[in-house]
Symmetry: none
Subunit: 231 residues, 2 copies
DNA sequence: TTGCTCCTCACGTCACGTGAGGTGGC
DNA sequence: TTGCTCCTCACGTCACGTGAGGTGGC
């Protein structure tokens, strides 16, 4: 039984953070008759988990979710894995740009060039996005989805039985979730489309394969794995 | 001369963001007699700079600073470069941890190990930070506990099956009782900690081994014996 | 004149930090 | 009894987003 200051000390978090976690339902220490908080060993375990999950970049809301329902953990972690990949890409781009500017003989001019390039790239992206009233299919899936596809493919190449690829399915599902913005109908439709891949016309197989920058045979192996894993 | 909606459209930022930049002194478009904003080409250049600098991770405050005083640019960029390096390290650590958890045959157990390692690492950092005035963890257990540990270890060396060491367990338990001053919660916690020794982070194994003036391998043999004898 | 655009508050988000003003515990 | 700890508001941070309620422009 710790009082709040001692507990804060031993966990290394601030008293204010403890109040905050409690407000958000992550902790519920006992109270003395006078309303003073008393923390136990169980609270300590909880706080250590909170801190560790925070270090992975989870929000308090996500932490509360997995605390209430442990089965959500894999999906949440898979989703976080993706988010981190995207953040890392952004940071890498920024670091490369900063290096280029810093090492240029005319940093100010280099920055101006970067500003111009960036504006151009944003404009291009916008144009692509609305090339033909929003209804055109993209030429390629998103970079993160492409990367995940390749991971699954590589895992299947190593281990055709699928054991190595199986852990990646959660990320695939999380990707679907994110892509559809949580819209259930859209998600169901996409799943059905994949489940039906064996009936796709050849032209569609080639097209979808091109979206994933691969050949139809590889696409089919991955599709077969994903679909049969769900059956 | 653009009005705000057209300007927002052509720069790709929202109207609300334009208001926000203005409140923070980053933009100051002209106004019509009725108070309507009118944006010029100079504003467009400014906004492109703002967006590009934001993509490097600068805050609006930093952007305002370099806008007012261009000589600050190199220092701000250098500082940002450092901040990004640190952020990237954190992300890399998180990604590695997530991968390890995901690819483990027991993800839940892997997460528990990570939580333990993280708590341990934080504790170590704290200890290092205040390595000074008497607050450090002890370097050695009490002489009587050390002696008992050696007795158990010697008995196990003679008879790895544990028959010779078994009678010493009662003394080990009595020692625990005495150490915790009879506090039940603390005793339970200590027992659990030992029961969980297989999940201890490497750093903790080395540390505890040093408390008993032995090497990790010997500590593990004794711990294994104590725990399995209770199961 | 009718919509539509634009205006300015004001409050919400996220994970806390920073006081303020008051009360219990040793 | 005196400090010290703890309590609960309430507001600030950051970069906007989301309305609300009102007015100008075409």
């Amino acid at each position: 039984m710790y009082r709040i200051s001692a507990f804060a000390q031993s966990t290394g978090v601030t008293v204010k953070a403890l109040y905050h976690y409690e407000r958000n339902g992550l902790l519920s220490p006992r109270r003395t008759a006078a309303g003073y908080r008393r923390y136990t060993h169980r609270d300590l375990i909880r706080v250590q988990r909170i801190i560790a999950l925070k270090s992975l970049g989870l929000s308090l809301k996500q932490i509360a979710l997995v605390q209430r329902d442990g089965t959500r953990l894999p999906a949440v972690l898979a989703q976080q894995r993706q988010a981190l990949d995207e953040t890392r890409e952004k940071i890498d781009r920024a670091v490369r740009a900063l290096d280029a500017i810093e090492h240029d003989s005319h940093p100010a001019a280099a920055l101006d060039r970067f500003v111009g390039e960036w504006a151009w790239a944003r404009g291009e992206a916008k144009r692509q996005a609305m090339a033909a009233p929003g209804l055109r299919a993209p030429d390629r899936v998103s970079a993160s989805k492409l990367a995940l596809f390749r991971e699954i493919k590589a895992a299947l190449d190593r281990d055709p039985a699928g054991a190595a690829a199986r852990p990646l399915l959660a990320r695939w599902d999380a990707m679907l979730d994110q892509e559809t913005g949580g819209d259930v109908d859209t998600k169901t439709a996409m799943r059905k489309a994949w489940a039906n891949w064996r009936n796709w016309p050849d032209g569609m197989r080639r097209y979808v394969a091109s979206l994933y920058a691969t050949e139809p045979a590889a696409l089919e192996r991955v599709a077969e794995f994903i679909v049969s894993a769900r059956e």
